[in-house]
């Protein structure tokens, strides 16, 4: 297994989860994940620390995601008439996605990099090219906003109990 393959195996899931949260659509996130690692394979994995490499790959992912979001906002929005039935288990997910989408860009970025991708404050600062204090304050504001937005839904989501899980984990109930 060469450097690029190892790097791909280590970061594929985190990059995909981050992109999925930012762009919303699974297939688009999959395509963008491909694009991220295509760029990685072209450029070669940099000779750096783990933190530096992680920040580097998420900087690529972030740039692609931001470009994509910008392009999508330029296109006309197609509104589907009629409401598809949403299973109750997905209601909270949809509410969360809507709340995340409603965050200011810079706060959403930091929040998703932390919670979906599991980046440390230092890695987020490096990926977004902002100081640590800015990371802290944006993350805190994002959490406060989401807490207010989700409110009761969050309480309902916690009915099954809450447990200590690391950020960025791909968790499923047993």
């Amino acid at each position: 297994m060469n450097d690029v393959e190892r790097f791909y195996a280590d970061h594929r899931d985190g990059v995909f989860r981050y992109l999925r949260r930012v762009v919303g659509a699974t297939e688009t996130a999959r395509d963008l994940t491909q694009e991220v690692f295509l760029r990685v394979s072209r450029a070669g994995v940099p000779d750096s620390t783990d933190t530096g490499r992680r920040a580097w790959v998420f900087r690529i992912a972030r740039n692609l995601a931001l470009n994509h979001v910008r392009d999508v906002h330029r296109r006309p929005i197609i509104v589907e008439l009629g409401h598809a039935a949403v299973p109750p288990t997905q209601e909270l997910s949809l509410a969360l996605q809507r709340a995340i989408d409603g965050l200011p860009d810079n706060e959403r970025d930091v929040f998703v990099l932390r919670e979906s991708a599991g980046l440390s404050y230092q890695e987020i600062g490096s990926a977004c090219e902002i100081p640590l204090e800015t990371v802290r304050s944006r993350l805190h504001r994002a959490r406060q906003t989401l807490r207010e937005e989700l409110g009761r839904s969050l309480q309902l989501g916690g009915q099954g109990g809450v447990r200590c899980v690391p950020a960025g984990a791909n968790r499923e109930d047993p």
């Binding site: 989860r17 979906s116 404050y121 968790r171 499923e172």
Partner: protein, 140 residues
């Protein structure tokens, strides 16, 4: 922005925090509520069924790195230089003064038919006379 709550954020995120500041933040009921809410938020973010299902389907790995143009050019230059060096260091005797033997190809052209099969002498001779028709009735 509440600095007490930011300490809780940092603690939940696995960053180093001042224990005294954390104790102080958690001594406040609002701080404890926030602490639990941050965990619940994380639980919700990570329990997105669609992302979990999508993550199970692996993203295809990127295609193998293609040979870069400069590598191809370098290989070409190395090949040419190697060929030149080998050629220039070979003794002159190894080169034959006479041109290399070339396989000759003999082309057999077909002999004209008259030489092989002589035409038989004529048995009847028809003589054609050229005559102008003054009435102008001919030729239609």
């Amino acid at each position: 922005m509440d600095p007490h709550l930011e300490v809780i954020d940092a603690f939940v995120d696995g960053e180093r925090v001042d224990p005294a500041a954390l104790k102080h933040a958690l001594s406040d009921p609002a701080g404890r509520d926030y602490f639990v809410d941050v965990w619940m938020l994380r639980e919700v973010v990570q329990h997105d069924p669609e992302i979990a299902v999508a993550s199970r389907r692996p993203v295809a790995p990127p295609p193998q790195q293609r040979a870069r143009p400069w590598m191809v050019a370098a290989a070409l230059v190395a090949g040419l230089a190697g060929g030149y060096l080998v050629g220039s260091r070979l003794p002159a005797s190894s080169f034959s003064a006479s041109p290399a033997t070339v396989a000759t190809t003999t082309t057999v052209r077909p002999t004209p038919a008259k030489d092989v099969f002589p035409a038989p002498p004529p048995t009847r001779v028809i003589q054609l006379e050229f005559r102008v028709d003054s009435n102008g009735s001919g030729g239609d």
